[in-house]
């Protein structure tokens, strides 16, 4: 949805990908170091699906939304959160579903609740944010649900409460138009919120 710098992310991923894991029986785990440890951008790549994550620092988020004319209170509210730009590419010839309800976020101590569209809608409404800025913000989020067509690429942000603990992201991607296929499971470990330099 966003397409923030999706192309830019894609190029980075392509340049940096040096870990390729094969999916077996639709189940695959990734154990990748967090960014900032001189490791590549966390990503998963198989014959069917590629997924990349890029945590965004508060300054990056502020710069992007300020440039869109967002008000200071709105930008301040966003800077407090943990933004991760997600990029998904269906490399298969079948439908693969992105369904964020099937993504689980956790840190060593507890589950982490994603701040979804409904959350932000309520926040912006309380803050009386203009509809145009609400609309732009929504378009920068990863879709809640999307049937990725063969070869389709989409991306967008997920927003989580900011924390210093490394997280695990467990993402399940149903397959086939009716979701009856074997789901592809991707697990990212040690994902950290990006910090300002």
């Amino acid at each position: 949805m966003l397409y923030l710098p999706i192309l830019e992310i894609y190029k980075t991923l392509m340049q940096t990908r040096n870990i390729l894991l094969q999916s077996t029986a639709g189940l695959l785990s990734l154990f990748l170091a967090a960014p900032g440890n001189a490791d590549p951008v966390p990503h998963y790549d198989s014959a069917e699906l590629a997924v990349g994550l890029m945590p965004r620092a508060p300054q990056q988020i502020a710069a992007f939304y300020e440039a869109r004319g967002f008000s200071k209170p709105m930008v301040e509210r966003l800077k407090q959160q943990c933004f991760i730009t997600v990029w998904v590419h269906n490399k298969s010839q079948n439908i693969i579903w992105l369904d964020l309800a099937r993504w689980e976020f956790s840190n060593p101590n507890s589950n982490v609740t994603r701040l979804d569209r409904h959350y932000w809608k309520a926040e912006w409404s309380k803050m009386q944010i203009p509809p145009a800025h609400q609309s732009t913000f929504r378009w920068t989020l990863l879709p809640e649900i999307l049937d990725f067509q063969p070869e389709e690429r989409e991306g967008g942000n997920i927003v989580l409460p900011r924390s210093n603990s490394p997280m695990q992201i467990h993402a399940s991607f149903p397959t086939k138009a009716d979701k009856s296929g074997i789901p592809i499971t991707v697990i990212f470990n040690n994902i950290e919120c990006a910090q300002d330099p």
Partner: protein
């Protein structure tokens, strides 16, 4: 024998006068999805000069409906190709609605000056018209047939000025 001739004439008429059947023979280029036909959402927007555009006014022609924003990378990449395509196909009868999603006049003006100065943008100032179309993301392109039905959708940005897409669009225009 006469009966077979009549049957042949009937089949010929059916295929070559019914746009949806004729469209079936058109090759879909990469990234174009054929949709279950549905009426295009009501779309009325102003351009940068304050002139009002209504999608209904283009009934009778194929309409290329495109949603974009200046902050979206693929939109920036795609825009020159759209301008090239439009500069050829508008003269051949293609109608175009280039809808900016939720940005202000200054942003749109300066963006288009740099990327596609000949494009006439329509301003969806609060993003509500875009929401009605329910795009998969930005950029988003839909092709609306002469009866006002949405028949095709493009996935992401496309090289609209290249042969497969130009042929596809020309093929559609022949079906009206």
């Amino acid at each position: 024998m006469m009966r077979y001739h009549l049957l042949g004439i009937m089949l010929f008429s059916l295929v070559f006068t019914n746009p949806s059947l004729a469209a079936e023979s058109i090759t879909l280029p990469q990234g174009i999805l054929e949709l279950k036909p549905s009426p295009a959402p009501r779309t009325t927007l102003d351009d940068l000069d304050g002139e009002t555009y209504t999608l209904k006014q283009d009934k009778g022609a194929w309409v290329f409906v495109h949603f974009w924003a200046s902050w979206c990378g693929p939109c920036r990449e795609e825009m020159p190709a759209i301008q090239n395509m439009i500069s050829t196909l508008q003269a051949e009868g293609l109608k175009v609605a280039m809808i900016n999603t939720a940005e202000d006049e200054d942003t749109v003006f300066s963006f288009l000056s740099a990327y596609a100065p000949d494009i006439r943008p329509l301003m969806d100032r609060d993003g509500q018209v875009t929401e009605k179309w329910r795009p998969r993301g930005l950029p988003a392109t839909y092709l609306v047939d002469p009866d006002g039905q949405v028949l095709y959708q493009a996935l992401g940005g496309r090289a609209w000025d290249t042969a497969p897409y130009m042929s596809f669009l020309r093929g559609l225009m022949k079906t009206k």
